[in-house]
């Protein structure tokens, strides 16, 4: 069975191609149009055609294949996020690999990572003090993988990769508690996490870090959310110290126990 089935026609000097690409992730519909100086009517893509039509078909084919390729990447990225959330460690490892390749500047990995993060964020609206819409299942296995990466904390690259790849798939509470049980979140460690960020991204992270309690700021910014996760995790670590007032984490608990 052919992977690609298409129909083409010319109308008002424009070649229109519509079809379906049968991918491993399901059918991907496509359509494309471009200028074509020929008579109106159906075009049989497999048959010999005037040169203007052949050129238009070739030009369209490049654009269509690029679009299909991008759509396949998006579907694959979304599947990886879903599998990771469901506890698939191979998927989690693949995500880490993609992240590492993206950090090395590989274009395809960068694009794929952006798609993963966009999808992960669109499925995650968990904010401290608000209701969660994800994940559908407790992802203990994901936390285990994350723990393994985060508890090591000896290799900055791996640590950063784990943070950037795994935290978007966790709720704020899960992410913060997991981080709080890893290495100390001192200034040096946080510097490692944000060093590859753009200045604007760093600004959002720091704002989130300082305002982790604040639920009134409504934003989908991934770095702001990451900052809040780190802020809460840091407060949990601090409150464990014998002399730190409990109120730095919880005013209610502080009133009762400080």
């Amino acid at each position: 069975m052919s992977e690609l089935s298409a129909a083409a026609y010319v109308q008002e000097k424009r070649l229109c191609i519509i079809g379906i690409y049968d991918s491993a992730w399901g059918p991907i519909p496509f359509s494309h149009g471009c200028a074509c100086e020929t008579e109106d009517g159906p075009i049989d893509v497999g048959m010999d055609q005037p040169i203007v039509v052949t050129q238009a078909i070739d030009e369209s084919q490049k654009v269509i294949m690029a679009n299909i390729e991008r759509e396949k990447m998006r579907l694959a990225a979304e599947e990886l996020v879903d599998r990771t959330r469901a506890g698939d460690q191979n998927a989690a490892a693949t995500m880490i690999l993609v992240r590492q390749n993206a950090q090395k500047g590989k274009g395809r990995a960068i694009a794929s990572l952006k798609m993963m993060l966009k999808y992960a964020q669109s499925k995650d609206s968990t904010i401290h003090g608000e209701a969660s819409t994800h994940p559908a299942k407790p992802n203990a296995k994901v936390i285990r993988v994350l723990d393994q990466e985060l508890n090591t904390g000896t290799c900055p690259l791996r640590y950063r990769s784990a943070i950037m790849t795994m935290l978007p798939s966790l709720s704020m509470l899960e992410g913060s508690v997991t981080l709080s049980n890893g290495p100390s979140l001192d200034k040096d460690r946080i510097a490692v996490v944000i060093e590859k960020m753009e200045p604007e991204e760093q600004k959002h992270f720091v704002t989130g870090f300082k305002n982790w309690r604040n639920t009134s700021i409504k934003t989908d910014d991934a770095n702001y959310r990451l900052g809040r996760i780190f802020g809460l995790a840091r407060s949990i670590q601090l409150v464990r110290l014998p002399t730190t007032p409990i109120a730095i984490l919880s005013k209610a608990a502080g009133l009762e126990l400080d």
């Binding site: 968990t126 904010i127 401290h128 003090g129 608000e130 209701a131 969660s132 994800h134 994940p135 407790p138 992802n139 203990a140 994901v142 936390i143 709720s171 704020m172 509470l173 899960e174 913060s176 508690v177 997991t178 049980n181 949990i236 409150v239 464990r240 110290l241 014998p242 409990i246 984490l249 919880s250 005013k251 209610a252 608990a253 502080g254 009133l255 009762e256 126990l257 400080d258």
Partner: protein
């Protein structure tokens, strides 16, 4: 002369209704009482004040709220050594990686009237368990 049964019946019913209404008012958490209770739970540190309010609430028939206020008063009256032990216990819960243990400590604090401390521990335990809700 025969006893006027119907007027007596009406009077009795009215009395029961009034008593029932009075009873309901007495044990009802009115918006004003709720405001006072919430403010006391959120910010009142004075043990004598907490105790007086707790007794007042109990006298009004609001036993649950009154008892919690009295427990709060007792917490505030602990010696510095006892307070330090409580803090250390709570901090040990917040450092534990065992959600069951954390929840047990939370129950202890709840029992002692430290509902905020218990809530924070339970939240932390949810994070350990990977429960998706905040």
């Amino acid at each position: 002369m025969p006893f006027p049964l119907i007027p007596v019946g009406i009077g009795l019913l009215a009395g029961v209704a009034a008593w029932a209404q009075f009873g309901r008012e007495k044990t009802k958490m009115t918006p004003e009482r709720q405001k006072i209770y919430d403010a006391a739970i959120r910010s009142l540190k004075d043990p004598a004040g907490l105790e007086a309010l707790g007794i007042a609430f109990k006298n009004e028939g609001l036993h649950t709220e009154g008892n919690l206020l009295l427990k709060r008063a007792a917490l505030r009256q602990l010696t510095p050594v006892q307070k330090a032990a409580n803090r250390a216990k709570w901090k040990s819960g917040m450092a534990s990686k065992n959600p069951k243990e954390v929840l047990e400590i939370a129950d202890e604090f709840e029992e002692r009237g430290a509902t905020g401390a218990a809530a924070e521990l339970r939240k932390y335990a949810r994070g350990l368990l990977g429960t998706p809700s905040e």
